[in-house]
Symmetry: C2
Subunit: 210 residues, 2 copies
C-alpha cells in the first residue's frame, strides 16, 4: 500500500483530483453498489446502498448524481470483460461464428444486473445518459461483426446494426425476467437467429414486403 499522496493521475480513469477521503468514499459506494445491483437488480435502493457503505445519502448523490451514473460506474469492470470478449471474437476466422460469439458476450453483459436492458435501451435514445457512450460503442461493435458476416454472406444484408442490437436487447429483456418461464436462452437465441418463418417463406416476405 504505497500511499502516494496526491499525484495526479495523468492518463487513466476519473477519480483523479479527488481528496483522499472522497476517493475512499467513492470506492466504498461503488463496491456496495456492485453488490446490491447484483443481488437486487438495477432498482436496488440507493439510500440503502449509502447506508451500507456507511456514508450519507448526500455523499452518494454527490459522487453519482443519478442512478444511471452509479450504474455506469458499477458496470465498468463488466464492460472491460465485454471488450475482451469482442477481442476474442475478432480472432475467430469464421465471420458467422464471430458474430455469434459477440452476441453471446453481449447477452452476458446485458445480464450483469437484473433489469439492465431497460436503462441501456433508454440510453440508446437519450443523448445525455452516462450509459450512452458505452451504448453507442456497443452498437458500433455490433455493426463491426455484422458487416463482416454480411461480407461473408452469412448475415442478411437487410438487417442493420441498430436493428440487431435492439433485437438483442429485447432478447435480453425477455431472458432476464423469464428464463424460468418454459423456455431456454438457446431456444430464443435460435428464434432470433433464424426467425420463425420457413426459409422459402421468409424470402417471399423479403420480396413481397408487408
Amino acid at each position: 500500500m504505497s500511499t502516494d499522496g496526491v499525484s495526479t493521475d495523468a492518463v487513466s480513469g476519473e477519480p483523479s483530483r479527488l481528496r483522499a477521503d472522497a476517493r475512499r468514499n467513492r470506492e466504498r459506494i461503488l463496491r456496495t453498489a456492485m453488490r446490491h445491483f447484483s443481488q437486487h437488480g438495477i432498482d436496488a435502493s440507493l439510500d440503502e446502498i449509502a447506508r451500507e457503505a456507511e456514508v450519507g445519502a448526500g455523499t452518494l448523490y454527490r459522487h453519482f448524481p443519478s442512478r444511471e451514473a452509479l450504474l455506469a460506474a458499477a458496470l465498468e469492470e463488466r464492460q472491460a470483460a465485454l471488450l475482451a470478449g469482442a477481442q476474442q471474437a475478432r480472432e475467430i476466422s469464421d465471420a458467422g461464428a464471430a458474430l455469434g460469439a459477440w452476441l453471446a458476450s453481449l447477452q452476458d453483459y446485458l445480464r450483469s444486473f437484473n433489469g439492465l436492458p431497460a436503462p441501456v435501451l433508454a440510453a440508446v435514445k437519450q443523448q445525455g445518459s452516462p450509459l450512452c457512450l458505452s451504448c453507442n460503442a456497443l452498437v458500433a461493435l455490433t455493426g463491426e461483426f455484422l458487416d463482416r458476416a454480411q461480407q461473408d454472406g452469412q448475415a442478411r444484408r437487410t438487417v442493420t446494426a441498430n436493428e440487431l442490437f435492439l433485437s438483442a436487447l429485447g432478447l435480453a429483456w425477455v431472458l432476464d425476467r423469464a428464463e424460468a418461464c418454459g423456455t431456454t436462452r438457446e431456444a430464443l437465441e435460435k428464434v432470433m437467429a433464424q426467425g420463425y418463418l420457413t426459409p422459402e417463406r421468409a424470402e417471399d416476405v423479403t420480396h413481397g414486403g408487408g
Copy 2:
C-alpha cells in the same frame, strides 16, 4: 357462509352483486384508470387516479387490490378487440398471412399502454396474476396460428408457441420504448420473422446445434 342472502353470481362477469354506489364508483375508477394508463403508461399513480375519480384511495384498493388487477380490468375492451382480431385472422386462408395478422394484432394489444409488456411477461410466469388468464389465452392463440402455419410449411417446426409469444413480447418491449430510436416497427418485425442469418447459414445452425 350460512346466510349468503346475496346470491353468488354463478356464470357471468365480475360487477355482479355490488351495491349501486359501489358499482358506480368502480366504473368511475375504471374510466379514469383507462385514461391515465393511456396517458402515463402502466406506472400511472394509483392515488392520482383515485383522486381524479373522486374516491378515496381505500375505495380504489377495495375494488382493485393491486395495480395488476386494475390493469387487467382496464384492458378488457382491448382484449375484446384482440379477440376480434384473432377471429378476423382465422378467416384468412393463407396460414402464413393468418399468423402474421395475429402477431400484428398482438403487437397492437401489447402497445395499448406504455410499458404493458412487462406485467404481461410477469404474468406468464407468475401463476396468480390477474393478467395471467388472458395471458395464457394469448399463448394458446399464438399456438393455434403457429400450428396452422407449421402444417402449411410456412413456419419453422423448431419454434414453439411459447418462444414465439416471448419473442413477440420482447419485440413489443423494444418498440414501445424505442420507436424513435432509429428504427421502424416493420424493420424489427422483419428481423423477428426472418432472423438475422442468411437462409443457408441458418440451416447449418439448425443442424449443427449449439
